[in-house]
Amino acid sequence: MIRVFKAMLIDSLRYLRSRYLFWIVLALSALVAVALFATYSFTPDGIQILWFSPIDNEALAEGSMGKEIFLKGLFNSYFVKIWLGWGAMILALISTASLIPDFISDGAVEINLSKPIRRPTLFLMKFVCGLLFVLLQLTIGIGLAYLIIGVRFDLWLHSSLLAIPLLTLQFLYLYAIAAIISVLTRSTIASLLGTIFLWFIIFLIQFVSNSIQLGYESQVAQVELNQTRIAELESTLAETQREPNTSERVKQGVWETNLEQSEKLADSMYPWVRNAALVELFIPKTGDLQKYLASVSNAPVANEFMGLFMDVSNDEFRPADISKEDMQDANSSETAARKAVRDVSILESILTSLGAVGILLFLATWRFSKRDF
């Protein structure tokens, strides 16, 4: 059995090597890694892109915390999420879409099935071989980015290497969909379009679920913020043994109103959060893997990343009727909410996703085993 699997792996490798797209994706991954991590340097006053004049930015200056936040942000939000998670993933699907349809096409399937290997074993081996494309691409692409960041900036983002197995897992989710469509239709085009369509549906479900959860977590953060403010004021008053003055009374009133509104909103949103989570239970959760990766590598959320380039609480960006303190609080609430959303239970997510994938694979294997070719 090992001999057969080894032969199939080597065959898949030869198949990939023969595909121009394999080399194109590889070159693009290298190009994106170089563009994102090797085209600038940090100076004592900020950042310099290529040979252009340095841009002064204290947050990004050499030795600042901003440098690490910037690199982690670029790695997670752009390299992993946009390029590898979407771009390379779609190209990988295009490259591997014909693998199973070719395997079971007329003239090929007869030879494959006439070998002394049970059909389920044969099919599952072919499926695993299909993951080879992404595994190779990810290992080379992420490995290159890891090395460039490490060597150029002396910042070794070990947790970024987790992207290799996690994104391979993401591809496995999608490839299981491709596999069952391939077995049912024996068509490369149907397999590719069907997978992309279902992936889009999965994305929509997760997007809606995320939005609901973000709205809920924002209200929870608001509740916590207002509770903290009220508690702090009460503590100050208790320490100083005095009654609140007019300004403090107004503020306390506003905070209590906000607290009440946020609690009501959070309560009303909770059933939606629960229902969205219930729907997500039955789909392969591709987005959770990237959320977990961002969480485990402590990558900045969107507003933290943007905070490197502009202070949203300063007068330039802040609406006139909102105080600087309120703006900062709102910003920190949003950060807390975004972090809460990406704080997924990875084990539960992977297990339930694998459950869905397992059902798809079982059906595909069963159909392959029973079908007359």
Partner: protein, 325 residues
């Protein structure tokens, strides 16, 4: 007698509608070259695919190499070249042999040894490093045959092995088949080229509409079609001559063809022919030619397909009978 393949009552109904096989009984003996003939849609490929576990039968009793049909382990001893096969075009010839050899469970050492030997056998050593995508149809067939032999099989199933191969290539393939037979292997050939089959097959089966109509050695199948044909020069009365021979020699129905002035004597006995010659000469007839006739495989095929004797044996007035069915 041991059999390599022994099938009884094999049936296949596709999706409850198309009755592809209607109870096929077939025996293939060890060490023989067995040919399966039949028109398009007769069910030949379905039968082969059942043997190779590519499709599952609706009903099947039988064995291949002593194991029930469908046993995957048995396939380690079986080589198969399907009709219209498609090898991965990104592989080189020798990589095809190596890959499918490994799939059949052959060790790396044996694969290396066998692939160079087989490339020689099929005359593809010079093209072994060329990609399949650049091969001609004939080259693909040759590599396909080599692929089918990679696991050193006891039983080899070749579906249209000479399809697309030029006459020289066909001769080469014939020689390979005879060599395989000489090595004691059993070969199952499925082909449309009847003359090819006649040259190499020990036994044949003719399949029509999902049933085996005739099965046996070519001698057995043509036994009842053997006869002497006597062509007369300007006969006075062919009918009278025919009736006279039939009456006096008691050799059964003597046929005739007025146009070619030929009498058909249903006997293989040379002595009976001497008497017929004497009789014709004594009645003043001039004999132009005498020859012994035996139906070809093509004749048998046409009879089985059409249900009547005709085509290549004009004037013959009774249908052939099979040797064993």
């Amino acid at each position: 007698m041991n059999t390599t393949v022994d099938l009884t009552g094999v049936e296949k109904i596709y999706r409850g509608k198309t009755h592809a096989l209607r109870g096929v009984d077939l025996q293939i003996h060890p060490g023989e070259v067995f040919g399966l003939l039949g028109p398009n849609g007769a069910g030949k490929s379905t039968l082969v695919k059942i043997l190779m576990t590519v499709i599952s039968p609706t009903k099947c009793q039988g064995t291949m190499l002593g194991k029930p049909i469908g046993d995957k382990g048995t396939l380690a001893k079986v080589g198969y070249l399907p009709e219209h096969h498609r090898f991965p075009t990104y592989l080189k010839g020798k990589q095809v042999l190596d890959f499918f050899g490994a799939m059949a469970g052959v060790s790396k050492k044996d694969r290396r040894a066998r692939s160079s030997k087989l490339l020689d056998l099929v005359g593809m050593s010079d093209s072994a490093n060329m990609k399949i995508g650049r091969y001609s149809k004939g080259m693909k067939q040759r590599i396909g045959i080599a692929q089918a032999l990679m696991n050193d099989p006891q039983f080899i199933v070749l579906d249209e092995p000479t399809d697309g191969v030029d006459p020289v290539g066909r001769k080469d393939i014939r020689e390979i088949l005879l060599q395989l037979k000489a090595e004691g292997r059993t070969v199952f050939l499925n082909s449309h080229l009847l003359s090819e089959l006649e040259l190499v097959c020990d036994r044949v089966a003719i399949m029509v509409k999902g049933k085996v109509r005739q099965q046996g050695t070519i001698d057995e199948l043509t036994k009842d079609t053997r006869r002497y044909e006597i062509q007369l020069h300007k006969p006075s009365d062919l009918s009278k001559a025919s009736a006279s021979i039939q009456r006096q020699l008691n050799i059964g129905d003597v046929g005739m063809d007025q146009e070619s002035r030929t009498l058909y004597l249903p006997t293989t006995d040379p002595a009976a022919i001497q008497s017929a010659i004497d009789l014709l000469r004594s009645s003043g007839e001039t004999i132009q030619t005498i020859h012994q006739h035996r139906s070809s495989l093509e004749d048998l095929f046409m009879v089985a397909v059409s249900g009547v004797q005709g085509g290549a044996t004009p004037g013959a007035d009774r249908p052939n009978k099979g040797g064993s069915q």
